[in-house]
Symmetry: C3
Subunit: 199 residues, 3 copies
């Protein structure tokens, strides 16, 4: 990922990039499976699964890149993101994931990758040269934006704003904040790892 | 339209451009009339007709151009698009189109131009240098995006995701796929025509 | 604000810029307080107030800048906009503004700044080199766009399209039109003041 061009080359660039890509794709996959389950609750057909899965998986990153205006969204430039989201949507359509242990694995995966999304949003914003406070906001948008669009499309009050959980927004904000603190202190790579652990 | 700069000049460029523009404007007009009818069903005032008509007519193309980030949306650069959408909205407001034969003409026009929208989205994405798979997705977004925003604004579950028709998405996908196949084979102009016929 | 680089330097540039910024920030503040009250009506928690307040305060400008594609949105480049919107959201969360005279002050502030938003949208569009008709539309979008997103997120039919008031759209359109007329006549600064008064 171009995000790390500026960091000190202690670990080979390719390893970092590959690691980031794998985490990103896992996050997109988990997000799209969980998002597509909203289509199941609403008894939609395959098209509903695909739309909600795509939006949940890559929506946050697309909103981020559209707002930052530093080139077309990553998810449109790298087809692997779209593939991960489509595969996730199909999996949700084909398997009955709401029973069995799959949900717990997915929820864990989603929580871990939430931090990675928030960190990616924060770092990308700093790279473009914007204010750290803005980077914090963009971290939350990257992590939570796809879910908001999914909820709007399936006509629910966005979970982000509902009274009970607050989990998502708080975790994303925490991950962004930790990442920001470490980035400012000159340790962008460390920021990535710790941000993910916090979430 | 800049879309065809790269094609072999067997037909004068101006004729192609003019033809594309006419098809585009007919599509915007039909889309906005049909979109504004959602305002009639909801007993909205003129403002509701204008908003839903505009969004339905030019929304898909605006979403496409915003995502591709290759300059301001075509509908904002060329006022004729906005004029076509506004005229369509006014026509829906003034005439009682739901009775009589008007609806059938409009639906036909909409189906034909759907293909043209999907093709425009596909080709524009290829021009920007993105992956053919992405181009397929952008074709569907261009053709169906305006309708999704219209449905969200009028608080309906987007038709794109509802179980019954599927017509829209499938037709748009088919048009994009045919266009893509022919473009890849080196016949972008042929792609335009055939894409429209398929839809 | 870069908006006025091209005007005749009869008043020092800094004074104009500062005045514009103050009006803008007041508008963002008033918009976010009023927007966050939608969260109160829906009995949301703090997160709901912050999301609806942010969206109402800076949403219209962000939509404008995203569509015009002339760099990242002003609200992301200048953190003071985000701060004004967050402070407004907190104020709405902490104080019980629906009783007492606060509402009237806010409504007045909102009406005055509505014109300033419409004018900012109109002038920014002209600067980018787009058609005056497009500028008119962008003025309305800048002034009313945040409210539409707020209404969609809180699952209401957007006020912009509801039958009764029409106030917002009409006032924004009037402000944009006056600003446009004066800008075309070569008096962009005058346009700003008069546009605000009209609204």
């Amino acid at each position: 990922m171009a995000s790390f061009d500026l960091t000190a080359p202690t670990v080979p660039e390719e390893v970092i990039s590959l690691g980031t890509l794998v985490v990103d794709l896992l996050g997109v996959f988990a997000g799209s499976v969980l998002g597509a389950l909203a289509a199941e609750r609403r008894k939609m057909d395959l098209m509903g699964f695909l739309v909600l899965g795509l939006v949940s998986g890559v929506g946050g990153g697309i909103i981020r890149d559209t707002l930052l205006q530093a080139g077309p969204p990553l998810a449109l430039v790298r087809p692997s993101y779209l593939v991960a989201a489509l595969v996730g949507s199909f999996v949700a359509f084909l398997l009955d994931l709401r029973k069995g242990p799959g949900m717990r694995v997915l929820a864990t995966l989603d929580a871990v990758t939430l931090g990675s999304f928030a960190v990616a949003g924060t770092q990308r914003t700093l790279e473009v040269g914007l204010h750290p406070g803005t980077a914090l906001l963009m971290g939350v948008i990257t992590a939570a934006g796809g879910g908001v669009v999914r909820d709007v499309l399936s006509r629910q009050t966005p979970a982000l704003m509902r009274a009970v959980p607050g989990y998502y927004a708080t975790a994303a904000l925490a991950a962004s904040a930790v990442c920001l603190a470490l980035s400012q202190a000159g340790h962008p790579r460390l920021a990535l790892g710790v941000g993910m652990v916090v979430a």
